[in-house]
Assembly symmetry: C2
Homo-oligomer: 295 residues x 2
């Protein structure tokens, strides 16, 4: 039976807070039911339509500070114009609680030796299945979403919108290019012999996005994640204005830089120490801990 109000809910503890995105995750109990409930609560973005109603007599303004031409106010719009969005998970398992809890982040430095001795064995042992990638490459799923395909087995790729993009506006444009070639795990594996693949993804990716969405090259941030979330080589294309999750330094490497580094130094990525951000809950971190590589 759906909730009518929040009277039967009692907060156990705050799992996570994100002041930047104005969201909070709460672990709670129902007063009259067993088990844990999780509430994910966030403030939705403003919309133009709603602003017309908020800028009105019904919105009370209380001055907090006045200084010359600047003043600061607390505004109290009518409650129904200023809703919160909530996802409720009930009954919540330990796995849910872990997923929605604040995790510690670490920035690790992976030397070429660390890669050989820690990361590579970990990747190989876990043999991450990327069944969904295979299905895309074989046109068994999402084929209606494909924006562009170059079928070449060596330098070809499929370009399609990332699931994070709702395709409603260009301001958060997010596409991904997945290469056809197998066996290329990540940035670490790239050498100058992969330059034809990288240049092909860059040039044809840019052209396809220009053709389909009218977005110019100078409006695109094109990058590779390290560590990637799956070990089949792929490239991210996002709108330059959109500071997408994972576009920060310590995770993202501009494709343009990768190409030029390999042009100048053919084995750049197998010789370099690569820094990456990792979460407490990531199993790879445990491997680094075991080897005493966390400072």
């Amino acid at each position: 039976m759906p909730l009518v109000n929040l009277k039967d809910i009692q907060i156990s503890r705050i799992l996570a807070e994100n002041p930047a995105s104005k969201s909070i995750n709460i672990l709670a109990k129902f007063k009259d039911r067993d088990g844990d409930v999780i509430l994910l609560i966030s403030k939705p973005p403003f919309t133009k339509d709603l602003m017309q109603n908020i800028i009105s007599e019904d919105t009370l303004a209380q001055v907090q500070l006045e200084n010359d031409i600047y003043s600061q106010y607390s505004l109290t719009p009518k409650a129904e114009l200023n809703l919160l969005k909530s996802t409720v998970i009930y009954p919540a398992t330990e796995k849910h609680i872990n997923k929605y809890s604040d995790h510690q982040f670490y920035l690790l430095q992976e030397t070429p030796n660390d890669y050989r001795n820690i990361t590579l064995p970990f990747i190989e042992k876990n043999a991450f299945s990327a069944q969904w990638v295979e299905r895309i490459l074989k046109h068994e799923s999402e084929s209606e979403n494909i924006i562009f395909e170059d079928p070449d087995r060596d330098t070809g790729f499929i370009l399609l919108p990332d699931l994070k993009w709702d395709k409603k506006q260009l301001s958060d444009l997010y596409l991904v290019a997945i290469c056809h070639r197998h066996g290329l795990r990540s940035l670490r594996d790239l050498t100058s012999s992969d330059l034809p693949l990288l240049r092909n993804i860059r040039n044809q990716g840019i052209a396809a996005i220009k053709e389909k969405y009218g977005v110019n090259q100078s409006q695109l941030r094109i990058y590779i994640h390290y560590q990637p979330s799956y070990y089949h080589f792929h490239v991210h294309f996002t709108h330059v204005k959109y500071e997408a999750p994972g576009s920060v330094v310590g995770r993202a490497h501009l494709l343009e830089d990768v190409i030029e580094n390999l042009e100048l130094f053919p084995n750049f990525y197998s010789q370099k120490t690569l820094s990456f951000v990792i979460q407490e809950c990531d199993a790879l971190l445990a491997e680094y801990r075991k080897c005493g590589r966390l400072t």
Copy 2:
């Protein structure tokens, strides 16, 4: 006279919207007064105290979707528990309107030639005054904020909190190290002869932050901006969890990478093409346009 409600305000147009941070900038007129007014409206973060009041009988819940253990709701808390924050600027000038308007962003690629022919002459012509930097280095201002100083003229620096950090919590820790040496403009100027300076900033910066705030090296993202906002060499230290503005690829370069690139290739940064994000309103962009370097 301060506003009591928003009845006398009429929206002219939306200047900018930021769905990620839940804020909106509005240009408007007072019905009874001349001149432009700007309203910067944002949704404040959640606080733990307020959540205790929001999770109550007074918060209405309207179900939007139910699927197995997941359900989605619109919540209507009492209006006074869910305020908006607003800054009002009146009368607003063209300069204010420009400052608070959405600008186009571009990602430019600066070759070594572009730097010599476009960027460097622009920097030299404009001779950006960084009087406030000089005042810090001479202990004429903010000296009470200095966390650490190494006075060496060649490899020394001052470490202090950035003004963006309110110092209330470590989750958005933000410090900046400003070198004592003059004449080092940016990343472009660095060669392997600057490694003692860079290593000194890294090592002593990390040690000082550990000592003062108890934050470990693995919790720090340490980086250099290109282009920087002022051309006196400095390094940013932020909490790894905090994806600070300017920590995205296309602006931020990890100090660790910079050091290693110079160890491997002494002239790396004078030989490389450097990509950077630039706003429509930046005068440097106009120079790139003139030279036909915007694609």
